[in-house]
Symmetry: C2
Subunit: 145 residues, 2 copies
């Protein structure tokens, strides 16, 4: 288990990968982001993207899943605090395989036995293009005395 | 249909509301954010929150759903560009009813018949406490000539 004092700028992880299917794009879109280019293949064809693309929220969800399984689950995570910035760099089309990476950029000591970790996360597609970028803040517990 | 030239700083919407259930928290968590305090009631009790809370990604998804149904679906939306900032202000526990609001803070003309709208969105709970805050950028088409 990694506590706040075990984290440092430069600590980095290669996360796993996840393939976004057509069915998954439509199902996620119907539930949480019902815009035509996420849920309706016909209407999506005449959109800017020329076809179905995943919701940005869905892409963020894929990143979070990879980050939990590949890094956070070994941390004494208390809570996510927020996002400093998030960028959708390239559309995520059906069949895209996203591979994650994750690096700590800053650790700030906080009171009450906690530290604040700032992390930069990315997703790249199977062509090695940058698809998604996020800078997040996470509260992590210090080692119990 | 609202095009980029129909948007202006101060344009605001009261969005609908959405109740986050225990089952929804666990299901979303299992799929996208499998940390103990999102998926396991037993382990959540001994966490910082003292019980199950919704993933921040889930809270963002609720906001997006309300924003699409209450505003974006009447806009000539091209694509979400990203998030400038997102803050989780208060934990979302089972049974919380979230009500959304949404205001345009800035509109920048862009080339190729587009405009960039900056919006500030919030979710408040049934106690009128601020739970979630986001500043996002969305590309919107100009009216066809």
């Amino acid at each position: 288990m990694r506590y706040a004092e075990d984290l440092y700028a430069g600590l980095s992880y290669s996360l796993g990968s996840w393939t976004v299917t057509r069915e998954q794009i439509i199902e996620f879109g119907r539930s949480w982001d019902p815009q035509p280019f996420h849920v309706d293949a016909e209407q999506a064809r005449s959109s800017y993207f020329g076809g179905l693309v995943a919701s940005g929220v869905h892409t963020f969800a894929v990143f979070q899943r990879l980050a939990v399984l590949g890094a956070y689950q070994d941390w004494a995570t208390i809570a996510g605090r927020g996002v400093r910035e998030m960028r959708f760099r390239k559309p995520v089309r059906p069949g895209t395989t996203l591979s994650g990476s994750f690096a700590v950029t800053e650790v700030q000591p906080r009171g009450q036995g906690r530290g604040l970790a700032v992390i930069r996360g990315t997703l790249h597609d199977q062509h090695h293009d940058l698809v998604f970028e996020v800078i997040m803040e996470t509260l992590v517990a210090r080692r119990p005395a």
